[in-house]
Structure formats: C-alpha cells, structure tokens
Symmetry: C2
Subunit: 225 residues, 2 copies
DNA sequence: AATATAAATGAGTGACATTCATTTTTTATT
DNA sequence: AATAAAAAATGAATGTCACTCATTTATATT
C-alpha cells in the first residue's frame, strides 16, 4: 500500500467518524476527542487533515453533496420529459434530505459560521443545483416552461419550498409515503401556482386593459401552434 | 418605580445588549462577558434572567418575531384583495429579513441547537405564519385561490421560496430595489407556476409582470416568423 | 546503517460559558 | 428609624473543549 493511499484512507476514516459523531450529537455536541477516538487516531492527528472543526464539518457536507449530485444527475438522465424530471428531482431531494436529516440540519447551521460563503460553502451547492438548472433551461427551450421566470427565482422557489416541506415533515414525524405525497403536491404548486384559473382581479385602470389585450394576443399565438 | 418595573427594564436592557452583540458577532463570536458589559450588568446577573446563552438568543428572536408578526398583521389589515395581500406579505417579509439579516442567520442556526422544536422555537414562528394562513384561507373562500392546495404546502412554498431568495440576494449583495423585484417575481411564480400552459400575467396592476409577459410573447413571435 | 523527512502523538494552553459563595440592595416588621 | 429577612447582584473560581506544539515514531533516501 502506497503512502498516498494510506493517507487517503485515514482521511476517509476521519470523515466517516466525523459524519457519525456529528449526526449523533450535532455540531456543538460533537467532541473532537470523540471523533478522533472513532477514527482510531490521536486528537492532534485530526488537525493534520482538517484545519479545524468547521473545516471538518464542511468536508463531511461536501461529500454528502457530491453523492447527492451524482444521484440527481443519474436520475435525470434516466427520465424523459420536463415535468417528470422535476418530479423526480423533488422526490429525490425530499427522500435524501429526510434520510440524512441530521446532515441537513448541520448544513443549515454551517452557513452561519462561514464568513466566505461564495468561495466555499456555496460551491458544492452549485454543482447540485446545476442539475435543476439544466432541466429548467431545457424545459424553457421546449416551450413547456415560462421563459420569463428568472432561473434563480425558480431555483430558489423549488428548493426553498422543498426544504421547508422537509422541515415540516420531520417535525411532524411523517414517513416516506407522506414525504412523497408532499413532494408531489409541492411540484404541482410549483408548476401551476395557487391562483384559481377562473379568478380575475377587478379592473381599475389602463394597465389592466393592456394586460387583457396582451393575453388575447398570447392566446391566439398559442392556438396557431 | 416599582420592583417589577425595575426588573423588566433590566431584562429589556439585557435583551437589547444581546441583540446588538449577537448581530455584530454571530452566536459563537458573541461573548457573554460582552453582553453583560453592554447591559451594564455583572456577568452572573445575565444568568438570573436567562438560563443560558441559547435561551438568551431564543428570547432575542422571539422579540424579533413578535414585532414582525405585528407589522404583518397591521399591513394585511390595511390592504384589500388576496393578491395584493400576498404581495404585501412577500415584500414585507423580504424587506424585514434583509434589514435584520443577522438575526435571520442566527435564527436559522438556532433550530439546530434546539432539542425541543415543538415546545418553543416553533411557537413564535406559528403566530407569524398564521397571518399568511388567514389570507390564504380567505383567498380560497373567495374562490381566488385553488382550494385543493394544502395550506401547509402553500405556506412552506411561500416562505421557503422567499427565504431562499433573501439568502441569494444577501450573498449577491443586492439592494432594496432588487429585493423588491425578487419578491414580486417570487409571488408571480407562486401564483401562476412555471408551467407555460396556463401562463398569464397578473391582472393586478403589476407593470413588471406585464412587461415580462410581453417580452416573452415578443420572443415567441420573433422565433416563429 | 545512517540520515533526513514526513506523520502521529497527547499533555498542555487559552478562551469561554456557567456556577456559587459572598456582598449589596430592597422590602417587611417592630 | 432600626433591625431582620428576603431578593438581587457580583465576579472570582471551575470545568469543558477546541486547538497547539514539543517529542516521538514511522518511512524514505543515501
């Protein structure tokens, strides 16, 4: 076994230990001594591999994200149709986050402690949401999604809604079935909105007239397809 | 001045001090010694009023929420129409959260540290979102909102999307104007969804939404020519 | 085998949250 | 007003950890 391999194996061991101890005890509750013990390593050794407790947590979360991203990408590739893909992404996200709820909690707490969001914590997130971005852009290109919705707004709405749903779910102690249903409903809402179709706001000025005229043009345009 | 008043004033002082020091330094960076100094009180005295650092943060956040709730309730009462109210709530939420971004960050971190969500941390949140719930229920009753969307899903989507938007905004360093626009777009999405099938500009005087829709139609026209 | 370099160790340090024996202030009683 | 009793306030002392660093141990190079 080469030196390089030995070092990498140790790093893995430490990460595994940290993952377990963090998940069990939360960030503050996790003692570096416990992590070192779990990894069969002296306390000082941990600091040879990771600058401090925060960096350790970051590494654990980065690994989590890498796996998450891989799974999302694979799933999307194996699914056809924009809405099916969105649905898959939502279910997948909810399932994974529920399964690794402790890690998710740690992640939420991490943001607060990081001074330099952009450089580090934001990057693993980026690779993950890129999967969504790709699906969304393709949906727009196919004319299935409204192109005038800014991507960043759509992305925030998608993941923001799901994350809150997961939180609610975990607090209420729902199982996988409930989670799946919640994800499904969240997607329905994401796609079609809350507005009832027949509802029309009252008309009280010039702008409304313009709007209705515009909608008439838009409808004609759609029919001509 | 009665005894009761003296004690309450001190508690207020300590809360003010804690608010300032937490906002400035974050949770870990805030030293109890500094908070005590700020409040003109001995270190031990703080512990006569609050069990520990966490309880202190909780109290600060509870006060923040109480004010937030009051403002939201007042604004909703002074606004007519479901969509106008949703729009107000979104803008208000985004503005307040951006103004007190530090507190929001602390709050996010708080969840992680609390063992007993339901009993404490979740309660102040509850009073706040009740304002949204009321607007939503009324919207359904009036036939303006789709009644088949579960309230908890709608609520999570609403606040989840906004919170992510605020976070994105803060990371990118946007100002009040950008925040307002983001809130507006988030609401448009919340109301009408991403699906192109039932795309429709909000008929409520939102010139931005109308403009965006117009541009979308124009783009389609160009392509088809 | 001798030397140089890289890794690992764990006792020690410092920073802080929290406690508690003591002091000060307030209230009640005569 | 004087005294006792109770309530508040104090800050030095304590304990817990994250993190460091002088030594020791393992590995590579000659």
């Amino acid at each position: 076994m080469t030196r390089r391999q030995r070092l990498e194996e140790r790093e893995e061991n430490i990460l595994d230990a940290a993952h377990a101890v963090f998940a069990e005890n939360g960030f503050d509750g996790a003692k570096m001594a416990a992590i070192a013990r779990h990894a069969d390593v002296a306390e000082g050794t941990v600091y040879l591999y990771f600058k401090n407790k925060n960096a350790l947590l970051e590494a654990v979360i980065a690994r989590f994200y890498a796996r998450l991203t891989e799974g999302a990408q694979r799933g999307v590739t194996g699914t056809d149709g924009t809405f099916e893909r969105l649905n898959f992404l939502a279910r997948y996200h909810v399932e994974q986050c529920m399964a690794e709820w402790h890690i998710l909690e740690l992640m939420i707490g991490l943001y607060r402690r990081m001074q330099d969001y952009e450089d580090r914590g934001y990057t693993f997130n980026k690779a993950y949401v890129a999967v969504f971005d790709q699906v969304f852009r393709e949906g727009v290109a196919r004319g299935e999604l409204r192109g005038e919705v800014p991507l960043s707004i759509a992305r925030d709405a998608f993941y923001g809604a799901l994350e809150y749903s997961v939180r609610t779910m975990m607090l209420r102690g729902g199982g996988k079935t409930r989670a799946r249903r919640a994800a499904s409903r969240a997607i329905d809402l994401f796609c079609h909105g809350v507005s009832a179709h027949n509802a029309q706001a009252e008309v009280s000025g010039d702008i409304e007239a313009v709007t209705r005229r515009l909608e008439a043009v838009a409808r004609k345009l759609e029919k001509r397809r």
